[in-house]
Assembly symmetry: C2
Homo-oligomer: 398 residues x 2
């Protein structure tokens, strides 16, 4: 068996929905032993299981984890968390701000139990002081607050979210990054740490292009540009119509345009002043887009992608979800693995994006049944014997 | 001075534009010494500097780095990279696939020089075998390929990107995560690693909600739902009109709706069967949205956010870029710091989102001038004396 990077690290994962659980997923796929701690009803995403649309993300994000149940609202449950904290390396959570402190098991309390502990949390706006510290936040409201909606959508249309839950996932990735940074530092110093990830902080850097345009325009909000370049300075740069859908094609440099013309077998770039330079094409964007569309319309997404990639033009098909779950490249990399789900049939389960050339990620397991490992984990990490286990269960603490 | 997590780690950062440079930014802000290696013309984003919109992202992503110039197309330049690789901990790059190998300074060559080296790359589709391995990819084409565009936009409208360059930034975050995971493992084993990040892999998990709906619907693509819930199963869940713009409000649970009604001072939830349950509201989504809009229209974004957060309803203003750069919470956390830029005036510079309670991120520096540290770094890490430096400069190698 291969040694994984986080071999021998143990994690208590109080994650909910996407942000925390994705961090736990990355940790488990890097070889850590991840103990998912759930309420007696199951975490939010599992509890939404009656709405079956939650069963896919729950299954994918919770593979390779062990589930235990704990009632952290009970004194006994809180006592167990403290006992577990003495024997694990990491506690992570993405509850609403202040939740763990309210139950006496926040960073201060748990690091007092174990000075080597890394306590890591992610909330909408972080735990450091500031006016939004206690605000509730979820992916869509972070896209609103952090400016993403203001730059997404069609010219003249309303601000728009993307349906990709990227605020959650980019925060979960930073949460993992903070935890592993703290583990690396601890290996030298022996000291734990408190990691504080704000979703807002993680989203703001993604505005880079838009903020570049904003400053150049003298602090003016750029128009929502649909699929065009935010600064409307590059062309071709858009989504174009193929015979079977759409393709995205972008020409960043003059050379891309020449290569695109070669691929389209159109010697227009030198013949027509409207298309002679990037600036000219940007000024004649509708005409430029029409020229490209006239060619793309005649071919399939696959044909266009193949020929343009051969010509070193940056392009891709606009894939729908069916294309993605059946993507041959994701299958070849082992990122997507088809697995049988008890209610959904065959689903596209995921391996970690954090990949090493000589280490395969661990084999995927099914997401655990609620509380399947409660007794075993409490025996191993808190020395709770069957008698105490029964008493705690009768009390509703586990 | 505080000890940063990656204190004493040295990095050669060949990053271009956003993905690699964001990783280098996170490393520098975690205390690593980051040597930015640029061509004699400067990296792509700096070279776009005549288009001044690039100056903002370049300035923000390259603070706390040292710049050296190297012509990696020259034999002498390649020799210098090998000499540097013997003395640093990490090499990172996000060139087009195969670039570093073409010049004889890929993972194999550099790890042969230094078995402890961590060689980390990120490309559109990763370096492992697969049909798209050699495809060029940038943020917008990854949003196309990985399904994001297919689920973003208005019902009946075309597929749409988000103008947030999240594919680049989420990949750069995974690149950092892979590097630090490898550093942690190396501290135990003494062995280096090759980190292989595919932007496509990093984007796919963000489809979680949409894929959940896809599977429940029997593998049917959900309609593009604008700002509504992708499965159209939750309401209120939308962007609403305020007196001075828009706000995002989402009710995930029945309790959120009751709290929203309390905030709006409308006892409708029990009185009208159209609004009595989540399912009823989802069936009467237009009427539900109209009810919320009738209230939001009368108030400012700030008023709505304040009163709804007090009522524990998940909401946020739809902020534009001006709001974001002047956001009081980002300022309070020290995430945004106003700094003077030589051509743009006062800009919103950024600190890392990877935050620790007892460690402040390093003070920001200006992005380095092209090659400002070439002589000093080559002297320190490759024992290149002034005579050899002059010879290499005359050859055009540095």
């Amino acid at each position: 068996m291969q040694t994984q990077p986080l071999d021998a690290i143990t994690v208590l994962d109080f994650g909910q929905v996407y942000n925390g659980p994705y961090c736990g997923f990355l940790l488990a796929q890097a070889g850590a032993r991840v103990i998912k701690v759930e309420s007696l009803q199951g975490e939010t995403l599992r509890a939404r299981g009656d709405k079956a649309s939650s069963t896919f993300p729950f299954a994918v994000l919770n593979s390779n984890k062990h589930s235990i149940t704990l009632n952290i609202k009970s004194a006994e449950g809180q006592g167990i968390v403290k006992r577990l904290a003495r024997r694990v390396d990491v506690v992570l959570e993405n509850f609403a701000p202040g939740t763990m402190d309210k139950y006496g098991i926040g960073a201060d309390a748990l690091r007092a139990e174990n000075p080597q502990l890394i306590y890591a949390s992610s909330t909408g706006y972080g735990n450091a002081p500031g006016p939004y510290r206690d605000y509730l936040g979820m992916d869509i409201t972070l896209q609103a607050m952090a400016g993403v909606m203001s730059i997404t959508g069609e010219d003249g249309g309303p601000p728009l979210k993307t349906a990709a839950a990227f605020a959650d996932f980019i925060a979960g990735t930073h949460l993992y990054a903070g935890i592993v940074s703290a583990l690396f530092a601890r290996a030298k110093t022996g000291e734990g740490a408190t990691v504080d990830i704000s979703m807002q902080d993680c989203v703001v850097p993604t505005l880079a292009t838009a903020l570049g345009s904003y400053y150049v325009a003298g602090r003016q909000q750029p128009v929502r540009a649909g699929n065009r370049h935010p600064g409307q300075a590059l062309s071709p740069y858009n989504v174009y119509t193929a015979s079977d859908g759409y393709v995205a094609i972008i020409c960043i440099r003059e050379g891309h345009w020449r290569k695109l013309c070669a691929a389209m077998d159109l010697p227009v770039s030198s013949d027509d002043p409207r298309f002679a330079t990037m600036a000219a094409r940007a000024d004649n964007m509708d005409a430029t887009d029409a020229l490209v569309n006239a060619w793309t319309r005649l071919h399939t997404r696959a044909e266009i992608t193949e020929v343009l990639q051969q010509h070193d033009v940056i392009c891709a098909p606009v894939n729908d979800l069916d294309d993605v779950v059946n993507d041959p490249h994701l299958a070849a990399r082992g990122t997507v693995e088809k697995r049988l789900h008890p209610s959904l049939g065959e689903i596209a389960a995921l391996h970690t994006p954090i990949r090493f050339r000589d280490i395969d990620p661990p084999e995927l397991t099914d997401a655990p049944e609620l509380g399947a490992s409660t007794q075993a984990i409490l025996a191993e990490f808190a020395d709770i014997d069957p008698t105490e286990f029964s008493r705690l269960r009768d009390l509703g603490a586990i």
